[in-house]
């Protein structure tokens, strides 16, 4: 590693972690979301409750799980419930403050596709599909999205609405009878984005250290809006970085 002493992916994970508090109850996906949630738990948010859709409530893994149902999650959880109970009492019941989602394709309004590239019935690439995402997107208090930027991933128009963000913007959620906030944060490897309060279009509010606005635009398929007061993301602290590296080092998946 050269330059700043951390990778863009580490910056992404740490920036996402910072958005979480000890009062949050998070529905955690695998990958960057799981890393971010556990970094938060092990640094500034020790009271955070992590819920994995396999049924583990209050998991406190020492090792980052490869899947959402690794044994480590159950062994460290406050309790482990059945999958129907998870989706009925805990997610649909409105007990989750933050849901984390990733995207294969994302549009400017936080709508997500992880289902197909191309036509649904004749796909160019069949992706895994939604899993828990369609209801995570509507039942969690708010949704945080993490993804690496790319022209293929951040697109003008997604091929399939796996999970609903802000639709075509504005009050699209309310019109569908959805009472939760939807996507309120997008953290990429280059920047932090938040939705415009009116239009709900994601705009860059903070650039990661050393990243330019041009670099963000060059890896985003829509015309990027930048906040009037653009900040620079604080680099990962020594503790944040050490915590993340320790977690990864203990998680020997390959």
């Amino acid at each position: 590693m050269s330059g700043p002493g951390f990778t863009p992916e580490q910056m992404m994970t740490v920036a996402a972690a910072r958005a979480l508090t000890s009062d949050d109850v998070c529905f955690v996906g695998i990958g960057a979301p799981s890393s971010a949630c556990n970094v938060a738990r092990l640094t500034h948010a020790p009271g955070i409750t992590l819920i994995y859709e396999s049924g583990t409530i209050g998991a406190a893994p020492k090792v980052l799980p490869l899947s959402i149902g690794d044994g480590e999650l159950c062994e460290t959880a406050v309790t482990t419930v059945s999958v129907p109970e998870m989706f009925r009492y805990w997610l649909q019941g409105g007990r989750i403050t933050v849901g984390f989602l990733s995207a294969a394709q994302l549009d400017r309004y936080g709508n997500i596709n992880t289902t197909v590239i191309g036509d649904y019935h004749h796909p160019k690439t069949r992706l895994p599909g939604g899993g828990g995402a369609p209801e995570i997107a509507t039942s969690c208090g708010e949704v945080f999205i993490t993804m690496k930027q790319s022209l293929r991933g951040m697109v003008e128009k997604i091929d399939f609405f796996t999970s609903f963000g802000h639709g075509d913007g504005g009050d699209a959620r309310a019109k569908l009878g959805i009472s939760t906030k939807g996507p309120t944060l997008l953290v990429t490897d280059l920047a932090v984005w938040k939705p415009d309060p009116e239009t709900k279009e994601f705009m860059v509010t903070s650039l990661h250290p050393g990243v330019t606005g041009d670099a963000v635009q060059a890896t985003c398929g829509w015309k990027v809006k930048f906040a009037d007061r653009l900040e620079e993301t604080a680099p990962p602290s020594g503790l944040e970085l050490a915590t993340l590296r320790d977690l990864k080092a203990r998680s020997d998946h390959d």
């Binding site: 690794d70 609903f164 009878g177």
Partner: protein, 285 residues
């Protein structure tokens, strides 16, 4: 009345060509050994039901056994895509496969409704989701008290469900513990249920009264297959073999390497091989 028998016999007597079948397990306790026996016995024209199809359905689809898939997440958890399923859906190789796709909430509620003897599940879901446009089995009902429109999906009622569990007692009651997933519902929703277990114990006298226990009269057949969940895991017995999940991504990437692997590790193998596969994953006592 439940019957203790070999896996070959349990499968032969309970899974038939054309059946709808669920091999369930949510990351934990996936019935790999039972699925491999189905592959060896060459069942055809199956409707494969599962929330998280993963490796076993990738294998069954790759072997051309499935006419339809009902699922909510068609991935290799934490790794990526299922390449044999992709080949079937994108290229109709080795055959075309019909798909019925739901969300996890949709599938979980549909199994719950099946276990509860209802024709449908009602929940708050699919709002703004594209699946409503491509799956005619996602409909709605209106709440007669509030006027709210809620999602409705038909109950899942497999002809037969296979699960893997930690243990049975001599009477045939079955204990599932740890991440219990959707297994109880999948068993109770099915017309027939077959369970592979790590071991048989005398009784469940030391089991907590609120544990997930399936009484013997809810199960048709039990076969003892130690390691039968590998590369998935059995809480209290052996750990998940994450390396094998990562390796599968390479095996399944190519039609030839897939078939070669299947011949050695499934077609020419026996259920007994599973015990040796988990040897290095058992915890120190």
């Amino acid at each position: 009345m439940v019957k203790f028998c070999s896996l070959a016999e349990a499968l032969a007597e309970n899974l038939f060509d054309g059946d709808s079948v669920a091999f369930e397990g949510f990351t934990h306790l996936i019935p790999h050994a039972a699925a491999h026996e189905a592959i060896r016995q060459g069942r055809q024209e199956l409707t494969l039901i599962r929330m998280t199809p993963d490796l076993v359905y990738d294998q069954m689809v790759g072997m051309g056994m499935a006419k339809k898939l009902i699922f909510s997440y068609l991935g290799n958890p934490g790794v990526g895509l299922l390449r044999r399923c992709r080949d079937a859906i994108e290229n109709c190789h080795p055959r075309a496969v019909e798909i019925e796709e739901h969300s996890h909430a949709g599938m979980a509620n549909a199994y719950e409704a099946g276990a509860a003897g209802l024709p449908l599940a009602v929940f708050r879901g699919y709002r703004g989701a594209g699946l409503t446009e491509v799956n005619p089995n996602i409909r709605s009902v209106t709440c007669p008290f509030t006027g709210e429109t809620l999602a409705a999906v038909p109950a899942l009622r497999p002809d037969v469900t296979f699960i893997h569990a930690q243990k049975a007692n001599r009477k045939g009651d079955v204990l599932v513990e740890g991440i219990v997933g959707i297994q109880k519902e999948a068993v109770l929703a099915a017309k027939r249920a077959v369970v592979t277990v790590e071991e048989v114990v005398e009784d469940f006298a030391d089991v907590h009264p609120n544990c997930c226990v399936l009484p013997q009269w809810t199960i048709r057949a039990i076969a003892v297959v130690p390691g039968g969940a590998h590369p998935s895991y059995a809480h209290g017995y052996y750990a998940r073999d994450n390396a094998t999940y990562l390796e599968w991504d390479h095996i399944a990437a190519d039609r030839e390497s897939f078939r070669a692997w299947m011949k050695i590790h499934v077609l020419d193998a026996k259920p007994e091989v599973f015990a040796s596969r988990v040897g290095h994953l058992r915890r120190a006592a």
